[in-house]
Protein backbone atom coordinates (compact mmCIF):
# COMPACT_ATOMS: atom_id res chain seq x y z
CA UNK A 1 0.00 0.00 0.00
CA UNK A 2 2.76 2.43 0.97
CA UNK A 3 4.30 2.14 -2.48
CA UNK A 4 0.93 2.27 -4.26
CA UNK A 5 0.01 5.57 -2.64
CA UNK A 6 3.24 7.15 -3.73
CA UNK A 7 2.90 5.80 -7.25
CA UNK A 8 -0.63 7.14 -7.43
CA UNK A 9 0.58 10.57 -6.43
CA UNK A 10 3.23 10.46 -9.13
CA UNK A 11 0.77 9.25 -11.72
CA UNK A 12 -1.81 11.95 -10.99
CA UNK A 13 0.78 14.69 -11.29
CA UNK A 14 2.44 13.23 -14.36
CA UNK A 15 -0.71 12.59 -16.35
CA UNK A 16 -1.98 16.06 -15.60
CA UNK A 17 -5.05 15.03 -13.60
CA UNK A 18 -3.95 17.41 -10.89
CA UNK A 19 -1.53 20.31 -10.41
CA UNK A 20 -0.56 19.47 -6.89
CA UNK A 21 -0.89 16.77 -4.30
CA UNK A 22 -1.54 17.08 -0.58
CA UNK A 23 0.31 14.29 1.15
CA UNK A 24 2.82 13.48 3.85
CA UNK A 25 6.44 14.45 3.66
CA UNK A 26 9.40 12.60 5.06
CA UNK A 27 11.11 13.98 8.15
CA UNK A 28 14.34 13.69 10.07
CA UNK A 29 13.27 10.34 11.43
CA UNK A 30 10.90 7.68 10.19
CA UNK A 31 7.94 8.90 12.25
CA UNK A 32 7.89 12.70 11.97
CA UNK A 33 5.96 13.13 8.76
CA UNK A 34 4.72 16.60 7.89
CA UNK A 35 1.61 17.30 5.83
CA UNK A 36 2.82 18.97 2.66
CA UNK A 37 1.79 20.15 -0.76
CA UNK A 38 3.79 18.59 -3.59
CA UNK A 39 3.91 20.33 -6.93
CA UNK A 40 6.43 18.30 -8.93
CA UNK A 41 7.10 14.64 -9.55
CA UNK A 42 10.67 15.18 -8.32
CA UNK A 43 9.43 16.38 -4.94
CA UNK A 44 7.20 13.35 -4.67
CA UNK A 45 9.94 10.93 -5.62
CA UNK A 46 12.24 12.49 -3.07
CA UNK A 47 10.01 13.19 -0.09
CA UNK A 48 6.52 11.69 -0.34
CA UNK A 49 5.80 9.04 2.29
CA UNK A 50 2.75 7.08 3.25
CA UNK A 51 3.39 4.86 6.23
CA UNK A 52 2.02 3.79 9.58
CA UNK A 53 2.94 7.27 10.80
CA UNK A 54 0.76 9.15 8.29
CA UNK A 55 -1.76 9.79 11.03
CA UNK A 56 -2.24 13.48 10.27
CA UNK A 57 -5.68 14.21 8.83
CA UNK A 58 -5.13 16.21 5.65
CA UNK A 59 -8.71 17.30 5.05
CA UNK A 60 -8.38 20.75 6.63
CA UNK A 61 -5.66 21.69 4.15
CA UNK A 62 -8.20 21.25 1.36
CA UNK A 63 -9.96 24.43 2.48
CA UNK A 64 -7.07 26.60 1.30
CA UNK A 65 -5.80 24.35 -1.49
CA UNK A 66 -9.19 24.03 -3.17
CA UNK A 67 -8.99 27.77 -3.70
CA UNK A 68 -5.62 27.62 -5.43
CA UNK A 69 -5.50 27.64 -9.20
CA UNK A 70 -5.95 24.27 -10.84
CA UNK A 71 -6.75 20.95 -9.31
CA UNK A 72 -5.43 19.37 -6.14
CA UNK A 73 -5.26 15.70 -5.22
CA UNK A 74 -5.74 14.71 -1.61
CA UNK A 75 -5.25 11.37 0.09
CA UNK A 76 -7.89 10.49 2.62
CA UNK A 77 -7.93 7.64 5.06
CA UNK A 78 -11.43 6.49 6.06
CA UNK A 79 -11.71 8.73 9.13
CA UNK A 80 -10.25 11.68 7.21
CA UNK A 81 -12.93 11.28 4.55
CA UNK A 82 -15.64 11.98 7.15
CA UNK A 83 -13.91 15.24 8.06
CA UNK A 84 -13.60 16.12 4.41
CA UNK A 85 -17.25 15.44 3.65
CA UNK A 86 -18.33 17.41 6.71
CA UNK A 87 -16.28 20.39 5.51
CA UNK A 88 -17.83 19.99 2.10
CA UNK A 89 -21.28 19.94 3.66
CA UNK A 90 -20.43 23.22 5.35
CA UNK A 91 -19.34 24.69 2.02
CA UNK A 92 -15.77 25.15 3.14
CA UNK A 93 -14.19 23.19 0.30
CA UNK A 94 -14.65 23.71 -3.44
CA UNK A 95 -15.25 20.11 -4.46
CA UNK A 96 -14.65 20.61 -8.17
CA UNK A 97 -11.04 21.55 -7.53
CA UNK A 98 -10.20 18.47 -5.52
CA UNK A 99 -9.41 14.96 -6.65
CA UNK A 100 -9.84 12.53 -3.77
CA UNK A 101 -7.90 9.32 -3.47
CA UNK A 102 -9.29 7.12 -0.72
CA UNK A 103 -6.86 4.86 1.11
CA UNK A 104 -7.83 1.67 2.90
CA UNK A 105 -6.36 1.89 6.38
CA UNK A 106 -5.05 -0.64 8.89
CA UNK A 107 -4.75 1.87 11.67
CA UNK A 108 -2.04 4.44 12.30
CA UNK A 109 0.74 4.21 14.85
CA UNK A 110 1.28 6.46 17.82
CA UNK A 111 4.88 7.34 18.55
CA UNK A 112 3.88 8.50 22.03
CA UNK A 113 2.61 5.02 22.83
CA UNK A 114 5.80 3.44 21.53
CA UNK A 115 7.79 5.78 23.74
CA UNK A 116 5.47 5.20 26.67
CA UNK A 117 6.11 1.47 26.30
CA UNK A 118 9.63 2.30 27.41
CA UNK A 119 11.34 2.65 24.05
CA UNK A 120 13.84 5.50 24.21
CA UNK A 121 16.07 6.69 21.40
CA UNK A 122 14.00 4.94 18.75
CA UNK A 123 15.89 4.59 15.49
CA UNK A 124 13.41 2.60 13.40
CA UNK A 125 10.14 0.73 13.60
CA UNK A 126 9.46 -2.18 11.29
CA UNK A 127 5.99 -3.56 10.84
CA UNK A 128 5.89 -7.31 10.79
CA UNK A 129 2.27 -8.40 10.64
CA UNK A 130 0.82 -7.84 14.10
CA UNK A 131 4.23 -7.07 15.52
CA UNK A 132 6.38 -3.97 15.61
CA UNK A 133 10.12 -4.43 15.73
CA UNK A 134 11.43 -1.31 17.43
CA UNK A 135 15.12 -0.59 17.03
CA UNK A 136 16.49 1.80 19.64
CA UNK A 137 19.85 3.18 20.65
CA UNK A 138 19.54 0.95 23.68
CA UNK A 139 18.63 -2.31 22.00
CA UNK A 140 15.70 -3.79 20.06
CA UNK A 141 12.17 -4.32 21.36
CA UNK A 142 9.15 -6.11 19.99
CA UNK A 143 5.75 -4.59 20.61
CA UNK A 144 2.28 -5.58 19.61
CA UNK A 145 1.05 -3.35 16.78
CA UNK A 146 -2.40 -3.28 18.32
CA UNK A 147 -1.06 -1.66 21.48
CA UNK A 148 0.68 1.11 19.59
CA UNK A 149 -2.22 2.36 17.52
CA UNK A 150 -3.46 5.92 17.84
CA UNK A 151 -6.40 6.06 20.24
CA UNK A 152 -8.87 6.67 17.42
CA UNK A 153 -7.53 3.70 15.47
CA UNK A 154 -7.69 1.36 18.44
CA UNK A 155 -11.45 2.01 18.50
CA UNK A 156 -11.85 2.65 14.75
CA UNK A 157 -15.46 3.50 13.93
CA UNK A 158 -15.32 2.95 10.20
CA UNK A 159 -13.10 1.55 7.50
CA UNK A 160 -15.31 3.13 4.89
CA UNK A 161 -14.04 6.01 2.77
CA UNK A 162 -17.23 8.03 2.43
CA UNK A 163 -16.19 10.26 -0.43
CA UNK A 164 -13.60 9.62 -3.11
CA UNK A 165 -12.88 9.78 -6.80
CA UNK A 166 -10.67 6.76 -6.69
CA UNK A 167 -9.99 4.15 -4.07
CA UNK A 168 -6.73 2.42 -3.23
CA UNK A 169 -7.28 -0.92 -1.53
CA UNK A 170 -10.48 -2.50 -0.35
CA UNK A 171 -13.40 -0.30 0.61
CA UNK A 172 -14.46 -1.14 4.18
CA UNK A 173 -17.50 -0.74 6.38
CA UNK A 174 -18.60 1.05 9.47
CA UNK A 175 -17.91 -1.08 12.48
CA UNK A 176 -19.07 -1.57 16.02
CA UNK A 177 -16.50 -0.23 18.38
CA UNK A 178 -15.81 0.36 22.01
CA UNK A 179 -15.29 4.07 21.46
CA UNK A 180 -17.95 5.15 23.95
CA UNK A 181 -16.79 2.82 26.71
CA UNK A 182 -14.62 5.38 28.44
CA UNK A 183 -17.41 7.97 28.27
CA UNK A 184 -19.77 5.44 29.84
CA UNK A 185 -17.25 4.71 32.56
CA UNK A 186 -17.07 8.38 33.42
CA UNK A 187 -20.84 8.70 33.35
CA UNK A 188 -21.02 5.94 35.92
CA UNK A 189 -18.83 7.87 38.33
CA UNK A 190 -20.14 10.29 40.92
CA UNK A 191 -20.13 13.98 39.98
CA UNK A 192 -17.33 14.49 42.51
CA UNK A 193 -15.22 11.85 40.80
CA UNK A 194 -15.97 13.24 37.38
CA UNK A 195 -15.12 16.72 38.55
CA UNK A 196 -11.85 15.51 40.02
CA UNK A 197 -11.08 13.61 36.83
CA UNK A 198 -11.60 16.59 34.55
CA UNK A 199 -9.82 18.99 36.85
CA UNK A 200 -6.84 16.67 36.80
CA UNK A 201 -6.88 16.46 33.03
CA UNK A 202 -7.73 20.04 32.12
CA UNK A 203 -5.38 21.56 34.68
CA UNK A 204 -2.57 20.42 32.43
CA UNK A 205 -3.87 22.49 29.53
CA UNK A 206 -1.36 25.07 28.36
CA UNK A 207 -3.73 26.72 25.90
CA UNK A 208 -1.41 26.15 22.98
CA UNK A 209 -4.53 25.88 20.79
CA UNK A 210 -3.14 22.85 18.97
CA UNK A 211 -6.48 21.02 19.44
CA UNK A 212 -8.39 23.91 17.94
CA UNK A 213 -6.02 24.64 15.10
CA UNK A 214 -5.73 21.05 13.97
CA UNK A 215 -9.48 20.39 14.21
CA UNK A 216 -11.14 20.14 10.79
CA UNK A 217 -14.41 21.29 12.37
CA UNK A 218 -12.72 24.39 13.82
CA UNK A 219 -12.38 26.19 10.56
CA UNK A 220 -13.73 29.60 11.56
CA UNK A 221 -11.78 32.46 10.04
CA UNK A 222 -11.64 34.05 13.46
CA UNK A 223 -12.21 32.05 16.61
CA UNK A 224 -14.34 33.54 19.35
CA UNK A 225 -11.43 32.94 21.73
CA UNK A 226 -9.19 35.14 19.57
CA UNK A 227 -11.73 37.89 19.30
CA UNK A 228 -10.98 40.82 21.56
CA UNK A 229 -14.55 41.97 21.52
CA UNK A 230 -16.14 38.62 22.41
CA UNK A 231 -15.53 39.16 26.10
CA UNK A 232 -14.21 35.63 26.47
CA UNK A 233 -10.94 36.00 24.69
CA UNK A 234 -8.37 34.30 26.81
CA UNK A 235 -4.89 33.63 25.69
CA UNK A 236 -3.70 31.73 28.69
CA UNK A 237 -5.75 29.68 31.05
CA UNK A 238 -5.22 32.17 33.84
CA UNK A 239 -7.82 30.43 35.99
CA UNK A 240 -9.23 26.87 36.12
CA UNK A 241 -12.53 28.37 35.00
CA UNK A 242 -10.98 29.41 31.70
CA UNK A 243 -9.70 25.89 31.08
CA UNK A 244 -13.23 24.58 31.55
CA UNK A 245 -14.78 27.35 29.50
CA UNK A 246 -12.45 26.85 26.57
CA UNK A 247 -12.88 23.12 26.36
CA UNK A 248 -16.63 23.04 27.02
CA UNK A 249 -17.31 25.73 24.46
CA UNK A 250 -14.93 24.29 21.92
CA UNK A 251 -16.61 20.90 22.20
CA UNK A 252 -20.02 22.57 22.01
CA UNK A 253 -19.09 24.56 18.93
CA UNK A 254 -18.17 21.38 17.09
CA UNK A 255 -21.03 19.30 18.52
CA UNK A 256 -22.99 17.71 15.70
CA UNK A 257 -20.12 18.54 13.36
CA UNK A 258 -17.29 16.64 14.98
CA UNK A 259 -16.67 13.41 13.09
CA UNK A 260 -14.59 11.97 15.94
CA UNK A 261 -11.42 12.02 13.87
CA UNK A 262 -9.39 12.17 17.07
CA UNK A 263 -6.88 14.77 15.91
CA UNK A 264 -7.41 16.89 19.06
CA UNK A 265 -6.14 14.15 21.32
CA UNK A 266 -3.41 13.12 18.92
CA UNK A 267 -1.83 16.56 18.90
CA UNK A 268 -2.34 17.56 22.54
CA UNK A 269 1.17 18.03 23.91
CA UNK A 270 -0.16 17.41 27.40
CA UNK A 271 -1.98 14.17 26.54
CA UNK A 272 -5.39 15.44 27.59
CA UNK A 273 -8.10 13.03 26.37
CA UNK A 274 -10.05 15.78 24.62
CA UNK A 275 -11.84 13.32 22.36
CA UNK A 276 -13.89 12.25 25.38
CA UNK A 277 -15.66 15.61 25.42
CA UNK A 278 -16.58 15.30 21.76
CA UNK A 279 -17.62 11.70 22.19
CA UNK A 280 -19.84 12.64 25.08
CA UNK A 281 -21.78 14.93 22.74
CA UNK A 282 -21.88 12.28 20.03
CA UNK A 283 -23.10 9.69 22.52
CA UNK A 284 -25.79 12.03 23.84
CA UNK A 285 -26.92 12.94 20.35
CA UNK A 286 -27.12 9.28 19.39
CA UNK A 287 -29.10 8.42 22.49
CA UNK A 288 -31.42 11.41 22.57
CA UNK A 289 -31.96 12.34 18.93
CA UNK A 290 -31.12 9.19 17.02
CA UNK A 291 -27.82 7.92 15.69
CA UNK A 292 -25.95 10.54 13.76
CA UNK A 293 -22.48 10.45 12.26
CA UNK A 294 -21.17 13.80 11.09
CA UNK A 295 -19.65 13.66 7.63
CA UNK A 296 -21.22 10.31 6.76
CA UNK A 297 -23.35 11.86 4.04
CA UNK A 298 -24.18 15.19 2.48
CA UNK A 299 -27.91 15.22 3.21
CA UNK A 300 -28.78 14.49 6.84
CA UNK A 301 -29.36 17.60 8.91
CA UNK A 302 -27.02 18.13 11.82
CA UNK A 303 -28.82 17.43 15.11
CA UNK A 304 -28.18 20.94 16.39
CA UNK A 305 -29.70 22.61 13.36
CA UNK A 306 -32.70 20.34 13.56
CA UNK A 307 -35.45 19.46 16.06
CA UNK A 308 -38.63 17.52 16.52
CA UNK A 309 -41.61 18.82 18.44
CA UNK A 310 -41.45 15.92 20.85
CA UNK A 311 -37.76 16.19 21.75
CA UNK A 312 -36.89 15.37 25.33
CA UNK A 313 -36.80 18.21 27.87
CA UNK A 314 -33.41 19.34 29.22
CA UNK A 315 -34.44 17.99 32.60
CA UNK A 316 -33.83 14.49 31.20
CA UNK A 317 -30.19 15.08 32.02
CA UNK A 318 -31.05 15.35 35.68
CA UNK A 319 -33.55 12.56 35.68
CA UNK A 320 -31.84 9.81 33.78
CA UNK A 321 -29.80 7.09 35.40
CA UNK A 322 -26.32 7.23 36.77
CA UNK A 323 -25.08 8.45 40.09
CA UNK A 324 -26.37 11.84 41.16
Amino acid sequence: MQQRVKEKALELLRNGTVDRVIGWKTGEFFYDLTPAVFETAEEIEKDFVFSGFSGANLSKYAIAQSRAAGKTAIFLKPCDSYSFQQLLKEHRILRENIYIVGIACEGMLDMEKIRAAGCEGVVSVKENGEELIVETLYGDRTLSRKDCLLERCAVCKSKKVVIFDEMLGEQGDEQETARFDRVAELEAMTPEERFAFWRGELSRCIRCNACRNVCPACSCEKCVFDNDKSGVRNKAAADPFEENLFHIIRAFHVAGRCTDCGECSRVCPQNIPLHLLNRKFIKDINELYGTYQAGADMETKSPLTDFTTDDCEPSIVHERGGVK
Binding site: A196, F197, V224, A251, L277, E313
Partner: protein, 146 residues
Protein backbone atom coordinates in the same frame (compact mmCIF):
# COMPACT_ATOMS: atom_id res chain seq x y z
CA UNK B 1 -19.96 32.56 56.85
CA UNK B 2 -21.32 31.66 60.23
CA UNK B 3 -23.66 28.73 60.64
CA UNK B 4 -26.59 30.95 61.44
CA UNK B 5 -26.08 33.13 58.47
CA UNK B 6 -27.92 31.36 55.69
CA UNK B 7 -26.31 31.16 52.31
CA UNK B 8 -27.97 33.54 49.87
CA UNK B 9 -27.46 32.24 46.35
CA UNK B 10 -27.24 34.44 43.29
CA UNK B 11 -29.55 33.24 40.55
CA UNK B 12 -29.45 34.42 36.97
CA UNK B 13 -32.69 33.93 35.06
CA UNK B 14 -32.54 34.41 31.31
CA UNK B 15 -36.08 35.21 30.21
CA UNK B 16 -37.44 35.29 26.71
CA UNK B 17 -38.84 38.70 25.84
CA UNK B 18 -42.22 37.46 24.60
CA UNK B 19 -43.43 34.97 27.20
CA UNK B 20 -41.35 34.54 30.29
CA UNK B 21 -40.32 38.14 30.77
CA UNK B 22 -43.97 39.07 30.55
CA UNK B 23 -44.70 36.20 32.93
CA UNK B 24 -42.23 37.67 35.41
CA UNK B 25 -43.89 41.02 34.95
CA UNK B 26 -47.27 39.51 35.65
CA UNK B 27 -46.08 37.82 38.80
CA UNK B 28 -44.94 41.28 39.91
CA UNK B 29 -48.22 43.01 39.12
CA UNK B 30 -50.03 40.21 40.92
CA UNK B 31 -47.75 40.80 43.91
CA UNK B 32 -46.57 37.23 43.94
CA UNK B 33 -43.44 36.88 46.01
CA UNK B 34 -40.21 35.41 44.73
CA UNK B 35 -36.76 35.93 46.23
CA UNK B 36 -34.68 38.96 45.40
CA UNK B 37 -31.75 36.62 44.67
CA UNK B 38 -33.09 36.18 41.15
CA UNK B 39 -31.53 38.53 38.61
CA UNK B 40 -33.46 38.57 35.39
CA UNK B 41 -31.76 39.11 32.05
CA UNK B 42 -34.10 39.63 29.15
CA UNK B 43 -33.22 37.97 25.88
CA UNK B 44 -35.10 38.22 22.59
CA UNK B 45 -35.78 34.48 22.42
CA UNK B 46 -34.72 31.47 24.44
CA UNK B 47 -32.54 30.39 21.53
CA UNK B 48 -30.52 33.59 21.90
CA UNK B 49 -28.98 32.02 24.97
CA UNK B 50 -25.44 31.30 23.93
CA UNK B 51 -23.99 28.52 26.14
CA UNK B 52 -21.21 30.97 26.84
CA UNK B 53 -23.70 33.23 28.66
CA UNK B 54 -24.43 30.48 31.13
CA UNK B 55 -20.78 29.79 31.82
CA UNK B 56 -20.07 33.48 32.10
CA UNK B 57 -22.86 33.86 34.62
CA UNK B 58 -21.25 31.16 36.74
CA UNK B 59 -17.86 32.80 36.29
CA UNK B 60 -19.16 36.10 37.54
CA UNK B 61 -20.77 34.75 40.66
CA UNK B 62 -24.03 33.02 39.78
CA UNK B 63 -24.83 29.93 41.83
CA UNK B 64 -27.63 28.81 39.56
CA UNK B 65 -28.75 29.67 36.04
CA UNK B 66 -32.25 29.19 34.71
CA UNK B 67 -33.61 29.75 31.24
CA UNK B 68 -37.25 30.59 30.79
CA UNK B 69 -38.88 30.64 27.37
CA UNK B 70 -42.19 30.24 25.61
CA UNK B 71 -43.79 26.83 25.76
CA UNK B 72 -42.69 24.56 22.90
CA UNK B 73 -44.94 25.35 19.98
CA UNK B 74 -45.59 28.90 21.17
CA UNK B 75 -42.30 30.52 20.18
CA UNK B 76 -42.71 34.06 18.88
CA UNK B 77 -40.27 33.10 16.15
CA UNK B 78 -42.02 29.76 15.61
CA UNK B 79 -39.13 27.41 16.33
CA UNK B 80 -36.50 29.19 18.44
CA UNK B 81 -37.26 27.34 21.63
CA UNK B 82 -37.02 23.96 19.92
CA UNK B 83 -33.43 24.70 19.04
CA UNK B 84 -32.79 26.07 22.51
CA UNK B 85 -34.18 22.86 23.98
CA UNK B 86 -31.67 20.71 22.16
CA UNK B 87 -28.79 23.01 22.94
CA UNK B 88 -29.58 23.23 26.60
CA UNK B 89 -30.09 19.49 26.88
CA UNK B 90 -26.64 18.86 25.45
CA UNK B 91 -24.99 21.63 27.42
CA UNK B 92 -26.51 20.48 30.71
CA UNK B 93 -25.43 16.98 29.93
CA UNK B 94 -21.90 18.18 29.31
CA UNK B 95 -21.85 20.14 32.56
CA UNK B 96 -23.03 17.00 34.32
CA UNK B 97 -20.27 15.07 32.54
CA UNK B 98 -17.70 17.56 33.82
CA UNK B 99 -18.93 16.94 37.33
CA UNK B 100 -20.91 20.15 37.83
CA UNK B 101 -23.77 19.48 40.24
CA UNK B 102 -27.03 18.59 38.56
CA UNK B 103 -29.67 21.11 39.36
CA UNK B 104 -27.52 24.22 39.04
CA UNK B 105 -28.94 24.68 35.58
CA UNK B 106 -32.54 24.44 34.57
CA UNK B 107 -34.96 25.24 31.77
CA UNK B 108 -38.59 26.10 32.41
CA UNK B 109 -41.25 27.11 29.91
CA UNK B 110 -43.28 30.03 31.25
CA UNK B 111 -45.95 31.81 29.24
CA UNK B 112 -46.97 35.44 29.59
CA UNK B 113 -50.05 34.33 31.51
CA UNK B 114 -48.17 32.17 33.98
CA UNK B 115 -47.14 34.72 36.59
CA UNK B 116 -47.83 32.24 39.31
CA UNK B 117 -45.73 29.56 37.65
CA UNK B 118 -42.87 32.02 37.30
CA UNK B 119 -42.91 32.88 40.99
CA UNK B 120 -43.28 29.24 42.01
CA UNK B 121 -40.43 28.16 39.73
CA UNK B 122 -38.15 30.82 41.12
CA UNK B 123 -39.00 29.96 44.69
CA UNK B 124 -38.32 26.34 44.03
CA UNK B 125 -35.10 27.00 42.12
CA UNK B 126 -33.72 29.29 44.81
CA UNK B 127 -34.49 26.60 47.35
CA UNK B 128 -32.68 23.95 45.27
CA UNK B 129 -29.62 26.14 44.85
CA UNK B 130 -29.59 27.14 48.50
CA UNK B 131 -29.42 23.45 49.33
CA UNK B 132 -26.66 22.87 46.78
CA UNK B 133 -24.62 25.67 48.31
CA UNK B 134 -22.30 28.11 46.57
CA UNK B 135 -21.01 27.34 43.10
CA UNK B 136 -17.44 26.19 43.52
CA UNK B 137 -16.85 24.02 40.49
CA UNK B 138 -17.53 26.64 37.86
CA UNK B 139 -16.32 29.70 39.67
CA UNK B 140 -13.51 31.96 38.58
CA UNK B 141 -11.23 32.41 41.57
CA UNK B 142 -10.31 35.86 40.36
CA UNK B 143 -13.94 36.89 40.76
CA UNK B 144 -14.53 35.38 44.17
CA UNK B 145 -15.19 37.83 46.94
CA UNK B 146 -12.39 36.34 49.08
Amino acid sequence: MSVNEQFQPTIVAFCCNWCSYAGADLSGTNRLQYPANVKIIRIPCSCRLNPMFILRAFQRGADGVILCGCHPGDCHYTTGNYYARRRMTLLFSMLDFMGIERGRTRVEWVSAAEGAKFAATMNEFVETITKLGPNRRLEDLRCSKE
